[in-house]
Amino acid sequence: MSAEPMNTKPVLNLFSGDLKVVNLGLEGFAETLAGRGVPTVQVDWKPPAGGRKDVIEALDAIARNPRVARANAEALSRILAGKPTLVGIGTALDTVPGMARDLILHAGPPVAWKDMAGPLRGAVIGGLLYEGLASTPEEAQSLAASGKIRFEPCHHHSAVGPMAGVMTASMPVWIVENQAFGNKAYCTLNEGLGKVLRYGAYSQEVLDRLRWMAGRLAPILAGALALRGPIDMKSLIAQVLQMGDEGHNRNRAGTSLVIRELAPYLALLDEPKEDVSKVFAFLNGNDHFFLNLTMPAAKCTVDAALGIEASSVIATMARNGTEFGIRVSGLGERWFTGPASVVEGLYLPGFSAADAARDVGDSVITETSGIGGFAMAAAPAIVKFVGGTPEDALNVTRRMYEITVGENDAYRIPALDFRGTPTGIDVCKVVETGILPAINTGIAHKEPGIGMVGAGLVKPPANCFMDAVLAFAEKYGE
């Protein structure tokens, strides 16, 4: 054995400095050190990738590619650079790219009619009735099954839809433009709670409301907006996070802000007073009105980060009620899916978990962009969903920093000393740590036509993240 000189400096530094320890495994070791005043952090370790050897090897192969970290930094910088701006309201057919009379857009990854869950089926039926393509629910069902109607994800058309997410040709849509990159996103207007299309309801009351929204609400709002000029959504979302909203399950502050922004211009419109008053009453009566603005804002923001070579940042998460799916920046348009989960939540009076449909909706685009469940710490009013105490809510957000590339520079949380929200979910970190994205959501009734029964938290299926890591390693592993 040769006597080559050894680099002893790091060991001498250890011997002469203060011991600072990271403990992985037996907690007793950490407790001993912490009890003796040694700065110690305990890692609540779990086998990475659920112990799957092939996935662990994939993670290691990805870790060996230095391009991935750079690409993820680029993805984060694009998300942070986003400038979502509400620019107007249009009709889906004229506005949404690729929209057609025989096309129904829906939430989540692609799904065929035969595989659709109750709420989505209900919303499709309602959409066909609304468009006059069928005159009875039965007729609508046979038309949906006939193959004459095409079904595609909103996400394939720069759009997003809450819950069932059904968008048809003549529906009015919000137009939000990411002015940093020029891309746009679209979303229907929020109908309110209870029996509504997005929860799979299609009764006359539902259809009447949709017609009023297209005939009166949308033109009046569009008129006000035209007078007001574009609204900076990023600034509004930054504000609502400091007013107790997290941007997904609580939208009370956001809805209030929108009313404030539009009120002076609504008053100027040459419209019947009763109609304008009804518009105000509708906005005021629907806390979630702002969600359908937050969603396209988030969509056009993260869309700018889709398709970056070698980036493992998750650019899309969405559910169609049957499957939960994600898309990863560096893998482009490809979906990775797993079975949609049952939501753990709180139920409206008269309903229970037995009534719940599986997880559904594109609203998880909010979490994808770093708000929603990721900003839970901002919303003390809804901590009941996460355990009941504000501390629980803080912990939800804190955990999410472990799976994100960075922190938001605009969306900040007062209770965390105005720390930016965790932003840019790295699929590798999700699989490595076993920490799944925290997702807030509403709960639809499993039968079509009934509507919302509660709200809560959803745990996405782990396998879609692992499948994405395997595919990512195949393309980018070294």
Partner: protein, 526 residues
């Protein structure tokens, strides 16, 4: 009635689950119980025990499995509920007790909390430990790898990687170290001082650091290397050589002590060369080295010690600037004679054998090496001579030294230093053997060890002595306690508890083994 409960995504470390299993097995009406994570191995085990089915097939390594076989369904349900309660209680206790301890989900997040962390202590299942160790090294942390079952190739790769960065990899299978006065994993609270220790032996390091403390010197650093570091030529003592090079340059270290089982010959030479180059006075003890001549003539600053106590005495004397003088007994010779007379009186004619029940592997080895020349054939699961390995590790033959930390005894059970029942079960068995005259025991104190090992042993010792008396004989019990007055179990308190249970307690393992041999020899003469 067999019952399997699966709790998804609920990871717990195995030592805790093994303790829960033990507690569950002692519940009324429970014939079999396993609380474990759903690893491939555990699922195979449960499937073999008849717990197979879709629940078991659908589980993974992140899922907690509770399998119970009980007299009836109600008892099985109750036991399963109790197991989950035990698991939850631990979580709650950890949440309360750990309020001062930050907790995160990953190494990376931990480094967000303490960006200047300098040591990762890793006690994860072997299959994952090396991977986390590599990540820690990549982030510039030294690593203490407590885990065993890390493949040899992984160890070599890790140590190569570490050497390039000048980082220490203590382990794998490194149970103890003292860095900057802080005891790590299983370690004692020892005085700080100027002896730097590097040891490829866990309880050897504990015994030597405690004895150095006892002899009035102290420890600058005590680095563990893991057993394979020197023994395996391909590992080549990488950790040991880096530790020696650093201790040589460390201004707080004036004496270097090295402890190991006999290394691979090339590695032994490299270690001795490194010690010679250090220019500092060095003491080396190679356990069970039969032929010191193989080492050649050591340099003038390197002293060979004959046992752990001798190594400690030499190092302490050098550190204190005193001249070294060998000591046979701490007690006066006449007092030893009196003890031998007393302890050897009253053996029944059948009482001929010594049984050493050890929790410390190195201490067991030392006893074996010391006793063999004195007693002739000594059987042991640690024997290098395969002819003297008992065919059934659970059954003693003639004079036997049992290393109860051996894998054969720890499957599904925590190490006997944590869970005394492995040893007390064996002790109860030995008590039934009329040929046993002398019991030889170690007791290892310090962090990580059981809070009251003497208290756990005492009733079993008393029962064994009563059994021997009822057969018309007398059982002699000789023990040593490895620990310091600063250890949380209390050195004095533990010693007194053993003495109250009828044991003779000596200050070192060497003296205990020697005394046990003398008692046996004297008894045989009578």
């Amino acid at each position: 009635m067999k019952l399997l409960r699966v709790r998804k995504d609920s990871y717990h470390d195995s030592v805790f689950l093994m303790l829960a299993t033990q507690e569950l097995k002692s519940a009324g009406g429970v014939t079999e119980a396993v609380v474990a994570m759903g690893t491939d191995m555990n699922r195979d085990l449960l499937s073999g025990m008849g717990f197979g089915g879709p629940d078991l097939d659908g589980s993974g390594p992140n899922d907690l499995l509770v399998a119970v076989e009980a007299a009836d369904a109600a008892k099985a349900e109750a036991a399963a509920a109790k197991a989950l309660e035990l698991v939850d209680r631990k979580k709650t206790a950890a949440a309360v007790a750990g309020s001062g301890l930050s907790r995160v989900g990953s190494l990376e997040a931990a480094l967000g909390k303490i960006p200047d962390a300098n040591l990762a202590v890793i006690s994860l299942p072997g299959a994952y430990a090396a991977r986390e160790a590599r990540k820690a090294l990549d982030r510039g942390l030294h690593v203490m790898l407590f885990s065993d079952n890390v493949p040899l190739e992984e160890e070599i790769a890790l140590k190569r990687h570490a050497a390039a960065k000048g980082l220490l990899v203590m382990g794998p299978d490194c149970g103890t170290a003292v860095v900057n006065g802080q005891p790590l994993c299983f370690a004692n609270v020892v005085r700080r001082g100027s002896v730097g220790v590097a040891a490829a032996s866990g309880t050897g390091l504990q015994e030597v650091t405690c004895l150095i403390d006892r002899y009035g010197a102290g420890i600058s650093q005590a680095v563990g290397t893991g057993g394979r570091d020197l023994k395996n030529a391909a590992v080549g003592g990488r950790t040991m050589l880096l530790a020696i090079a650093a201790l040589a340059e460390d201004p707080s270290t004036s004496v270097i002590a090295v402890i190991s089982k006999p290394p691979a010959p090339d590695t032994a030479r490299a270690v001795l060369d490194a010690l010679a180059r250090s220019g500092k006075p060095c003491v080396v003890h190679l356990l069970g080295l039969r032929d010191p001549a193989m080492l050649g003539k050591p340099a003038s600053n390197v002293h060979l010690a004959s046992d752990l106590e001798d190594c400690s005495r030499r190092a302490a004397a050098l550190a204190r600037g005193e001249s070294y003088r060998p000591v046979e007994w701490d007690l006066p010779e006449a007092e030893i004679d009196r003890i031998v007379d007393r302890e050897s009186a009253g053996f029944a004619p059948a009482q001929k054998h010594l049984r050493g029940l050890y929790t410390g592997g190195t201490l067991a080895d030392e006893a074996l090496f010391l006793l063999q020349p004195l007693l002739g054939s000594v059987w042991s699961n640690n024997q290098t001579d395969p002819a003297l390995v008992p065919p059934d590790p659970q059954v003693s033959v003639g004079h036997t030294i049992v290393d109860l930390g051996d894998d054969v005894f720890t499957v599904g059970r925590p190490h006997p230093m944590i869970d005394p029942s492995t040893r007390t079960d064996r002790l109860d068995k030995e008590a039934e053997d009329p040929s046993v005259a002398v019991l030889l025991l170690d007791l290892v104190l310090g962090y990580g060890s059981h809070p009251d090992p003497a208290g756990a042993l005492a009733p079993h010792l008393e029962a064994a002595r009563a059994k021997a008396a009822s057969r018309g004989g007398r059982l002699s019990v000789v023990a040593s306690v490895t620990g310091t007055p600063a250890d949380f179990q209390g050195l004095e308190d533990q010693r007194r508890k053993l003495e109250a249970a009828g044991a003779v307690v000596l200050p070192s393992n060497r003296q205990a083994a020697r005394l046990a041999a003398r008692i046996l020899q004297k008894g045989a003469v009578r």
